[in-house]
């Protein structure tokens, strides 16, 4: 190892593990600061910077946890998943995983779900800018082609299924209200997507609409999407109506790409 490599390794070990071998590289200087204090400036800056990122990216999770538990989470996360990506936007990507694997957080499944919801809001915000589907495009589709049409979800669309009241709790905290009980009777489905004004929005989805969207995400053509919908409606006709209702809402809110394909028989 060259001396430059050793110096950088010791610097990183000091930041990441608190190892003070690095102090041997620091020259004593006149003035008020000792070498230890000079090293601590970098240590503090590292911890403060990354803590701030998690505070900004996971504001409602922070409120849900309270200061003490949030600090414990940050400390544990920094130790388990030090930042490796050049962009700070990716630093918290493994926070849901951390919360699901480490006590005391793993005992409360809602925490992972709130963190995941907040990460998806960020991902939707940064997603690509493909053109969105317009109503006029539907009019140009020939009747015979409709069953074979493949609608594609826009890059900013994320689907989320929660086993707890994660999104409702997020909404309550955002409005300075107390969060509801974490327990819910059946899974809640959500769509997160960037809207035409570039703000990120989210909507509750019926089970039927959720399965329609996952069918589209899996590349199934319109005919199969309607069949999937029929399983959650009273009749095939009502299933198709559900899909048309979803298409209308999705087109208004920019959930689909303008690039529609016709699957060849």
């Amino acid at each position: 190892m060259t001396s430059l490599e050793q110096l950088q390794q010791d610097f990183v070990n000091m930041l990441n593990h608190g190892s003070m071998d690095f102090e041997n590289h620091i020259a004593a200087q006149e003035g008020a600061l000792a070498p230890t204090q000079r090293a601590e400036i970098y240590q503090n800056a590292y911890r403060i910077r990354l803590t701030k990122v998690l505070e900004q990216d996971h504001e409602m999770l922070g409120l849900y946890l309270g200061d003490e538990l949030f600090d414990e989470m940050v400390k544990g996360y920094l130790a388990r998943f030090p930042s490796s990506a050049p962009s700070l936007r990716e630093f918290g990507d493994r926070l849901p995983q951390f919360l699901s694997e480490h006590q005391p957080f793993s005992e409360h499944g809602i925490l992972k779900e709130i963190a995941l919801f907040e990460r998806l809001l960020l991902k939707a915000f940064d997603a690509g800018d493909s053109k969105t589907l317009q109503f006029a495009q539907l009019q140009s589709i020939e009747q015979a082609n409709w069953p074979n049409i493949q609608f594609q979800l826009h890059e900013s669309v994320y689907l989320l299924t929660c086993q707890f009241s994660a999104v409702e709790s997020w909404q309550a905290l955002k409005s300075d209200q107390s969060p509801p009980s974490p327990d819910i009777q059946s899974p809640h489905h959500w769509i997160i997507a960037r809207e035409p004004d570039k703000r990120t929005g989210f909507y509750a989805l019926s089970t039927c609409h959720y399965h329609c969207l996952t069918s589209m995400q899996n590349g199934l053509p319109f005919g199969f999407v309607c069949e999937a919908a029929a399983q959650y409606a009273e009749s095939e006709e009502q299933g198709t109506m559900q899909v048309m209702e979803l298409l209308q809402k999705g087109i208004e809110l920019g959930w689909f790409k303008s690039d529609i394909r016709v699957q060849q028989a």
Partner: protein, 281 residues
């Protein structure tokens, strides 16, 4: 990759998301804007939406914070690829990053960690700079960072180190006068010594920014107004030099936009007439 001088295009501001709408609505008298390169390493969304409109009206330059050119790890070509794609999309007047290391292996500090001023570091940076510039097919301007420590290993001053790097590579620097002031206070040297030592042809851009003074030391926070000492250093420096692209950089604690404009106008008022490209009076 040979380095060329960049034309003088005037006085710029750091483009930050909180000012997007006001800039588009008021079309302020700013000669150019500087973006943080990594903030545009995403596929789309609000930043790109606004940047596309702003770049129709103003020249853009790109300033990176994560290249880690001084790192002893292998060059991160994935990062360079993202940078190159962003460059192609933005078409900036020039690009810059910092003379430092910020990552090592899989660890990213997200800080601008100083290099030791040694012959070994000079050779290392010379080699890396050539590789990066060849890959990007354009010159890379390097900014001096603030520092809070001096390495035992250093064999020369920071300004001697920069000058020697310029001699070897013809690279140009983005001199952050605030960073020089911060380091000068933390290491007890005269900031004028640093500024006077850098050859004029080696300077492509100037940053002016603020810091937080803790008495025993200064932290480069870039979240405060520019202090009187830094203004005076800039004024004295400008008297002795030909026009250099100058920018007000604010990274946190964002004030109303008009306060940044007032700082930009103040910078314009401190320079010789030869630096003027517009009459904004």
């Amino acid at each position: 990759m040979s380095n060329t001088s960049h034309p003088f295009v005037g006085f710029g501001l750091g483009l930050r998301t909180c000012y997007f709408e006001e800039i588009l609505a008021t079309q302020p008298k700013v000669d150019w804007f500087e973006i943080i390169s990594e903030n545009y390493f995403v596929d789309g969304g609000k930043p790109w939406h606004y940047l596309a409109q702003i770049k129709e009206q103003y020249p853009i330059v790109m300033h990176g914070v994560s290249m880690s050119i001084g790192s002893t790890s292998e060059i991160n070509f994935s990062y360079l690829d993202s940078l190159k794609k962003t460059i192609n999309r933005v078409d900036p007047l020039w690009i810059s990053d910092h003379l430092c290391f910020s990552s090592l292996g899989d660890f990213n500090s997200h800080d601008l960690l100083p290099m030791p001023y040694t012959e070994e570091a000079l050779s290392h940076l010379t080699e890396r700079l050539n590789i990066v510039q060849d890959y990007l097919q354009r010159p890379l301007i390097l900014e001096n960072v603030s520092s809070y420590l001096t390495y035992q290993a250093s064999q020369m001053s920071e300004w001697e180190f920069l000058s020697e790097l310029h001699n070897r590579t013809q690279c140009q620097f983005l001199l952050d006068i605030n960073n020089i002031y911060v380091s000068a206070r933390n290491h007890d040297f005269a900031p004028e010594t640093f500024l006077n030592a850098i050859p004029e042809k080696a300077i492509a851009q100037i940053h002016l920014a603020g810091h937080s003074d803790f008495g025993s030391h200064i932290i480069d926070t870039h979240d405060q107004p520019i202090c009187d000492h830094v203004w005076q250093l800039f004024k004295d420096f400008a008297k002795k030099r030909g026009p250099i692209n100058t920018m007000i950089e604010r990274d946190d604690n964002f004030p109303p936009f008009k306060e940044l404009m007032a700082e930009l106008d103040h910078a314009r008022s401190l320079v010789p007439k030869s630096w003027s490209i517009h009459d904004f009076t």
